[in-house]
């Protein structure tokens, strides 16, 4: 694979454990021309707010941003499905010249009239920042006229990275919560579930666990989300934050404003799920019943899934995996879960990890594992083939890279439709991995054909 050269400016974002001293560059802008797997600010905001099912999500800009994000996520709703629509002001040449405020207002009023949403989020795209529409002013006017929260999300694509988009979404959420003018009442033994988006119904799995533990869930932000529920979030006793940071900013704000403490957890894999539930139980140790129930729950759930995991492990033992995900936190969980299945991680990387994240990754991985920050198709292909991976875990943009090289693939992104969290999610994950890794199809791919002479690419 010597044919693939790594760009000089990117060398510091690639590390192979054991080789050099560890000094990873990260949290930088993507390099121009590097075909990053990253998205933009707008994408970050859209991911976080998307699951709020009774809100209107209006994208203010030309049509592209709306078209490409229409119904692309597996976030489920138990009721309204307004979030699955794709609304856009679809700005045209004249709007660019004369400004889009009027069109935005008219569109908003019409849509609110038609769909009666509980709130409206207006996503500002690149161009809105340039033509200078006062979106906040329009929002204020419409909020006044319609009596529902109308909130601008400042997600102009070029104004930072996806992470800045998370922050913009958190600001919007906090602004929504702030609109709750009722007195705050802290509900005992209660939590908000943060950073959980109900992909394939994952929120429901986690909620079920908490209910079994005797913990009240005040709101989920934003899985199966509802405007009213989000506005109640102020009354929870604890914020339990999943995912490596998309909603951490909100938790921090709520801690600062309302004094609600937060803990960071992951629900992925047996180890992390158990740990998450214990942490919450321990937090509410004044209600000892909770810890007792938590123990029973975990015992029961683990017992239920171990046999099928063990069966699959037999086929998976020693197989090698490559991981490239959005947040590094997810990578940690994946490494542990893959260990549960007897698999080894040979490549780990993320789009948005911090220096500390990569240090943790380094410690978790074996000698020789390649660690990558904000990588691109060429690098991902190069290293997963060099490391002879049997499996690649990533999102839709990584899929064709893995497949082209004849490597099994597991989608661990927002587009998947299968719940992977909690104990039952672990079984689903194992099945997905097992299904692809043990497929006989790999016998046929050029990379696996002996003698290597049999050319594939012709």
């Amino acid at each position: 694979m010597t044919s693939i050269s790594v760009l000089k400016q990117r060398e510091k974002q690639i590390y192979q454990k054991g080789k050099q001293p560890f000094e990873m560059t990260c949290e930088t802008k993507s390099l121009a021309g590097a075909v990053s797997q990253r998205a933009c600010v707008f994408c970050g905001s859209r991911v976080v707010l998307y699951p709020i099912a009774d809100a209107l999500h209006l994208i203010h800009g030309p049509i592209g941003c709306a078209s490409y994000t229409w119904d692309i996520r597996g976030a489920q709703s138990s009721g309204p499905e307004l979030h699955r629509m794709s609304f856009s002001t679809d700005l045209s040449e004249t709007d660019i010249i004369y400004g889009g405020e009027k069109k935005l207002k008219k569109a908003l009023l019409e849509l609110i009239e038609k769909y009666s949403p509980k709130a409206a989020f207006i996503y500002c795209t690149c161009i809105v920042g340039i033509i200078g529409d006062d979106v906040d002013a329009v929002c204020r006017q419409v909020e006044k006229e319609t009596n529902i929260p109308v909130i601008a999300v400042h997600s102009e694509g070029f104004k930072g990275t996806k992470k800045d988009g998370y922050k913009a979404a958190c600001d919007a959420l906090f602004s929504l919560i702030e609109r709750n003018k009722a007195p705050r009442v802290t509900i005992p033994d209660s939590i908000n579930i943060l950073g959980e988006f109900n992909i394939g119904g994952e929120t429901w799995i986690i909620k079920k666990y908490y209910e079994a533990m005797g913990v009240k869930v005040v709101s989920v932000i934003t899985g199966d989300g509802r405007v009213d529920e989000v506005m109640q979030a102020r009354n929870a006793a604890l914020n339990v934050v999943q995912c490596s940071g998309s909603v951490t900013h909100l938790a921090k704000q709520m801690e600062k404003e309302y004094g609600i403490p937060f803990i960071r957890v992951s629900y992925f894999g047996i180890e992390d799920t158990s740990d998450a539930l214990y942490q919450v139980a321990v937090h509410f140790k004044k209600t000892p019943e909770i810890l007792k129930k938590t123990r029973e729950l975990i015992k029961k759930e683990v017992k239920a899934i171990v046999p099928s995991l063990e069966t699959m492990k037999k086929d998976l033992e020693g197989k090698k995996a490559a991981i490239y995900v959005g947040g590094a936190f997810k990578a940690f969980s994946l490494i542990k879960a893959l260990k549960t299945l007897g698999m080894e991680v040979v490549l780990a990387g993320s789009q948005t990890g911090t220096k500390e994240d990569y240090e943790v990754l380094r410690q978790m991985c074996n000698e020789g594992t390649v660690i990558l920050d904000d990588s691109n198709p060429l690098e991902l292909a190069k290293y997963s083939v060099e490391k002879d991976a049997d499996l690649f875990i990533g999102g839709v943009k990584e899929r064709p890279i893995a497949y082209k090289m004849g490597i099994g693939f597991c989608d661990h992104n927002h587009e998947r439709k299968i719940p992977l969290v909690g104990f039952e999610g672990m079984v689903n994950f194992a099945k997905e991995v097992h299904g692809t890794v043990t497929s006989p199809i790999w016998d046929l791919v050029p990379r696996r054909q002996n003698p290597i002479g049999k050319e594939g690419a012709i």
């Binding site: 993507s30 592209g64 629509m85 908003l108 839709v396 082209k404």
Partner: protein, 470 residues
Amino acid sequence: MTPSRPYKETPSYTATQNACKLCTPLGASLVFQGIEGCVPLLHGSQGCSTYMRRYLISHFKEPVDIASSNFTEETAVFGGGANLKLAIENVARQYAPSMIGIATTCLSETIGDDVRLILNSMDNSINGTALVHVSTPSYSGTHVDGFHGAVAAVVDRFNPADKRIVYRPKKKKTINLFPGMLSNEDLRHLKDIFEDFHTPVTILPDYSERLEGPSWQEYQAIQKGGTTLSAIEKMNVSVHSMEFGAVLALAAEKGQATAGGILNKRFGVSCTRLPIPIGVKATDRFLDILSQISRRPVPERYKKEKWRVVDTYVDGNKYVSKKRALIYGEEDFVVSMAGFLAEVGIIPVLCASGGKSKTFKAALEQTLPENLIDQVIIQNDMDFTCMEETAAAMPEALRPELIIGNSKGYAMARRLKIPMVRVGFPIHDRVGGSRILHVGYKGAQQLFDTIVNAILTEKQTESRIGYSYM
């Protein structure tokens, strides 16, 4: 049985709700994927290229690399020139491409980057890599405009007016074909047809191999396949150009610069514009012209295919006769598909597109038989929500019984409880979307079989009895 004039009022909203179109740079990116060794580069935010890659990957199930100049806030303030140059350098270094196709996004267009000037300052190339720019602000036009724009830009760049025609060999009568946005299978079939006519062809773009290649032994920075630059450079010595697309043809008549038009104006290469050859009659027309220009008879194989499909039309006539269909998609696609449907006896009661040409209606009126036009609602600049509301509001006896279009209409079809046949672009919820054949007799055969079988499936499934004979 002529139903009275159907319900023609269509709802109108300020916002677009579930758009039936994509933004301009996507079309340009697709064209660049169809040129050998070319890497598309979007001059704009990182998100644009990532979203479009994702969108194209979901259809083609292949790697689709699109670089980005990755604007920052400073870029937006101080201009994108520096970023663009850096991006070009990095792409050139990492991919060693034959060409970088640069499409501007709404962002760079709005801040007013003069990309032409920047590229001129670089001599329109870098270390032997050609740089080609197409202006694709997403606030004007749709992906189709980006597509045609990119084709024209590429032809323009490699066939400058002052170019000396080095040779004009009499024997090799190459034909240029600008097919528009067709599927991989369509492109493969067109290549087969030209081969069977023993007539060399340069098809631009041709992403059929690049976006449907084999698995790899080694990773390929740029997949193989695509129109070569050397072939594009020789387009001006071809004997003829063919341009598919009835709407495009009308636009060209009104003065829009098209690839075929440029070659005609500058070099006198004659150009035929014809609808996408979907259906028997449209294919007849295409092969007739091809036969005339190549001075070769239509090969036996196609005659057989033709009469086989006509026989199949006959066999299935009663299943489709007077059935009512809703078609949507790119305007040119809808026009040709409507022509095919009319040819087999299906009434395309609602022809919709998100496109914004002013000639959609005219093109359909040219294509459909006069006695049908009255029964057809024609609407462009339409989104899926208006389409659905229009269909739902039609009186039952006139309402579509069949939905024909890309996979984005699924939710609508599901709610309306109307069976759907997936054709065109994109197909995101099935595999093999790029292997759907639309053109030629064989395409007509497959479309007809698929449509009849969709009708039969519905009939059988909905029947209380479920007969095993039809």
